[in-house]
Symmetry: D2
Subunit: 149 residues, 4 copies
Amino acid sequence: MLDADAFKKIVESASFHRLIGLTLESANAASGVVVLRLPYDPKLSIFPEAGVYHGGVIASLIDVAGAVACGLPLGRPTPTANFRVDFLKSPAKIDLIATGKLVRSGKTVSVADVEITDDDGEVYAIGRGTFSTSAAFKAIEAGAESANR
Amino acid sequence: MLDADAFKKIVESASFHRLIGLTLESANAASGVVVLRLPYDPKLSIFPEAGVYHGGVIASLIDVAGAVACGLPLGRPTPTANFRVDFLKSPAKIDLIATGKLVRSGKTVSVADVEITDDDGEVYAIGRGTFSTSAAFKAIEAGAESANR
Amino acid sequence: MLDADAFKKIVESASFHRLIGLTLESANAASGVVVLRLPYDPKLSIFPEAGVYHGGVIASLIDVAGAVACGLPLGRPTPTANFRVDFLKSPAKIDLIATGKLVRSGKTVSVADVEITDDDGEVYAIGRGTFSTSAAFKAIEAGAESANR
Amino acid sequence: MLDADAFKKIVESASFHRLIGLTLESANAASGVVVLRLPYDPKLSIFPEAGVYHGGVIASLIDVAGAVACGLPLGRPTPTANFRVDFLKSPAKIDLIATGKLVRSGKTVSVADVEITDDDGEVYAIGRGTFSTSAAFKAIEAGAESANR
């Protein structure tokens, strides 16, 4: 059974998250709300001159924020089945905040919504996904075990 | 008017693509088919022990393959409006191939499908997105200009 | 330029809406919020014994609520480009309320969210879609003209 | 265990399908391909003058074709978790064919793709959805039982 601290350790020790610099700011199992932060780094942009984030980076935040929002109340990681991302406006040269919220907790699948904002709450993208609550997520079991120690 | 070579230069010079090592193998404006390759690197995994790709990396490939499939016949970049990704099985420690196909070319939006496979054609994920054909994509104009010289 | 009353006339005079009994309760251009009501009728169920709504009926409400939410501030109908619907729980033998909200108004596409609830606000399904704001919607021009007289 | 004939009976006896006139032309468990037909009827249009199908009708076909494609190999109905529909062009005053194909069969969820075409194979809309393979679908159990007799 993983708690919020364990989820934080897993998220922040994952290889791809270390590559892009993703951190978990808060995770509340009772409210089902998860907040991630991604500091701006030019390497995450399409071209540094404009500094606009690559859409794949934004999609990555949605994937993670949704997965943690669905996994936290169960105390274990829940693999992503699918998600949709809508890009509303292009964030450039700013830190991104991803706020994931559990919409429905189910026996086989859960649903989460994610908003990508800046620190002032302006919304740049929105995501919605389905996460498998009945499947094991072997890919991060090793990470989960070490994080739970 | 950007041709396939210019799209290749843009894709391969983009900051985030250099970070993850993405290359454009082929792009055919007539058929509307685009093929990207991503060599496996442990830093793109969730945890290197399992070597399973982070979902955000797969989503990034879908974003790019769809955008190039829609932009190529127009000769200019087309910003992503939205996409959906379905994860079918988890690829681990292999190169990924993203094949984007133009489904519908429209005055304001185009639609593309993308398959994420290995070199043998086994499908790991599928994506479908809408790309804006009437909006300018300022974020990569600088890159496009330099790629087109 | 169609106002809320004209949208109500269009929605309620459309053939398929008359078939299923859909009504527009309110539409506010300033807030971007649209509320539809669908009284329960056994013919809208899969099988009347259980009385559970057919998923296509719920999807129809999402399509319409999203389209009106996006079209109302522009004063003209906006054709649906795409939408996603997530079924959270099965409504049975109750009236359905569809509340559409404009999320982003764009030059070429707008985005709307829709919740399907009962009169007490319990959520049964959620939808999110993209609607074309630059394309004419010839299919309902005749209806729009007669509604605007 | 429901076979193709039983699925045909269920589909064609469902209340909402009788309302719109939907029939199941073929369903092949081995290939995972399901074909539905919807004869044109003005009551399924937005306005009969133009005769353009309501988007909700098209979404209904996607819902059903995907659900049967996923349920057929299991021999039981699979409730829809979510789907996305992309409208490519507007069909008017023609019969619609919905061809559903099983993309991935899973223990908890399956994925299906659906194309909406005319009899000549011209594509008007495409759908992709996730269907729950581990959940019971009580809403149509009564119908399934009577169809299986």
